[in-house]
């Protein structure tokens, strides 16, 4: 590690230069600069690769808006609804902050799923990025946990009933159902103890989990570098071949892993520096995400319902759109087998997704060379899409 200022970074002169020089030396910023900003990113990395950063950005938006909502929110059934009304109608910009938080949650789910789908289609979960994928699946689970716990907090009709139904689902499990239901609710019925525990999960436990998983995920992304798109990786086009032959002729690799690293280094050497070439795309994508979020808020508004009423028998609870497929799926199972549809199958699917890089270790990354994986992915997307569509009919 050197102690000189980064060569491509800004170099202000005079007193400002002295101050920045002091800061750079004392903070070890050069190390961060070299390892993170000045690192080379392989050729072929384009806009599709901004989805990961965009997902992270939507989480930052959630963290920022959530922090300011917490300034006014009261996690008690007596006051939760009133405090949300206060945010919506009394606090200047309160409706905007809540609106962004509400819509950014949906945007985050969309981005996380698109990011995951891209990684799946491009086979980027394969060697050496298996662990990155698994941490990503963990991040997906935490994201859905955020949605589920965040739902209850406004303590309106939708919040109350979606949680009643949502916590009843694991309650149908044989043997352990009642135990799981009581642990989830903190009591036998959804009430004060459910709200406080959902709040604690939503603002403390889940953010801490996400920060940990995200930190590890990011570390691995920097450590392994982002994947080269398969169409370039497998390409025999003269330009790509020239890249790989560039300067040093590579000796025959002994193993597939060694061959991978030699080839990757070739792509990386010819790639761009992360700052500013890649960051510019990421930042513009983030700005677009924010614009879309605000667009959704402006066109569709910020939903509010009446306060939670446990005695209301007419209310039909429906989950948020990304849980609708599950809502519809349950309808095809008889009551005594509901737990299979609600818990066993979704858990099995999540496990299949989590362990994907463990059982799919074939060398091919291009989607056209992985027909089985593509068909499986397509079938799953069609099923989820169809169930969601039917649920809204």
């Amino acid at each position: 590690m050197t102690t000189t200022a980064p060569s491509s970074g800004p170099k202000p002169a005079g007193r400002l230069g002295q101050v920045s020089g002091w800061l750079v030396e004392r903070s070890g910023a050069t190390g961060i600069w070299e390892a993170f900003f000045a690192r080379k990113v392989p050729i072929g990395v384009g806009w599709l690769y901004t989805l990961g950063f965009a997902s992270m950005f939507s989480f930052i938006v959630q963290a920022a808006t959530g922090l300011f909502l917490a300034v006014y929110y009261s996690p008690s059934p007596d006051h939760a609804y009133d405090s949300i009304q206060f945010i919506m109608y009394q606090v200047p910009f309160g409706a905007v902050v809540r609106g962004i938080h509400h819509w950014s949650a949906s945007v985050m789910v969309v981005l996380v799923i698109l990011h995951m789908a891209t990684v799946f289609v491009l086979g980027a979960y394969k060697y050496p990025r298996e662990l990155t994928w698994m941490l990503g699946v963990g991040l997906l689970a935490v994201t859905l946990g955020f949605s589920f716990t965040g739902y209850l907090l406004p303590w309106d009709q939708k919040a109350y009933w979606a949680t009643v139904v949502g916590t009843n689902i694991p309650g149908t499990l044989p043997f352990v159902g009642d135990f799981v239901l009581r642990v989830a609710r903190g009591a036998s019925q959804v009430g004060t103890l459910t709200l406080t525990r959902f709040y604690a999960f939503h603002v403390l436990l889940l953010p801490a989990s996400l920060a940990g998983l995200l930190g590890a995920h990011l570390y691995l992304i920097v450590h392994h570098g982002v994947s080269v798109p398969p169409w370039l990786w497998d390409s025999v086009a003269p330009r790509v071949r020239a890249v790989l032959r560039h300067r040093e002729p590579t000796p025959m690799a002994a193993t597939r892993e060694e061959e991978y690293h030699q080839r990757y280094e070739g792509f990386k050497r010819e790639g761009h520096q992360f700052w500013p070439n890649i960051i510019v795309e990421d930042t513009l994508a983030a700005a677009l995400v924010l614009l879309c979020t605000i667009g959704l808020m402006v066109t569709l508004g910020v939903p509010t319902e009446g306060p939670a009423d446990p005695t209301d028998t007419a209310y039909v609870p429906r989950p948020e759109w990304y849980f609708m497929f599950l809502f519809q799926f349950l309808k095809y199972f008889p009551g005594n087998l509901e737990w299979v549809a609600a818990v066993v199958i979704p858990s099995a699917v999540l496990l299949v997704i989590l362990l994907l890089p463990v059982y799919d270790r074939g060398p091919n990354r291009a989607p056209w060379r992985r027909p089985l994986a593509m068909i499986a992915g397509l079938v799953m997307s069609v099923v989820v899409g169809y169930l969601t569509y039917v649920a809204y009919q």
Partner: protein
Amino acid sequence: MQSETAEKQQVERRTFLGYIIVAAGAFITTVLGIPLVGSLIAPAFKGRESNWVTVGPTTDFTTGQPKPTTVSITIKDGWIEQSESKGVWVIKQSESTFVVYSGRCVHLGCAYNWNAAQMEFDCPCHGGRYALDGKVLGGPPPRPLDTLEWRIDQGNLVIQYQDFQLGVPQKELA
């Protein structure tokens, strides 16, 4: 080896991209920052709410005779609304003229009494004394009694209850 022109172009490109990043970052920070910070500092700019309450029919009061009265006001504390009882002194000067004093001594906020024998208000805490017109006769009070706004609405005396800062020479809203 890059030529000098190519290197210059490379630096220009980097600088240009750097500007785009800064611009997009500034856009994000502004769009998010204004509502976030605005919502946080909003209470500092929130105006006080008026608190007009009905005391009772004007016929309940005897001219020239100070009468202690309790009014119930609604206090909004964030999203929590509470009603609170406040003491006031009402002096009927004529059928259509009233003087209403806040029931708190302007020294340190104790409740004071009417001393009919001396024709003055006495505060039992620190010996503050006020005349019927509210002027200080003696003791530590730094200013006359605080008068409250009043009006007559369909035969009822209606007052605007307000709390004022204590222990200071000027009458300023608390």
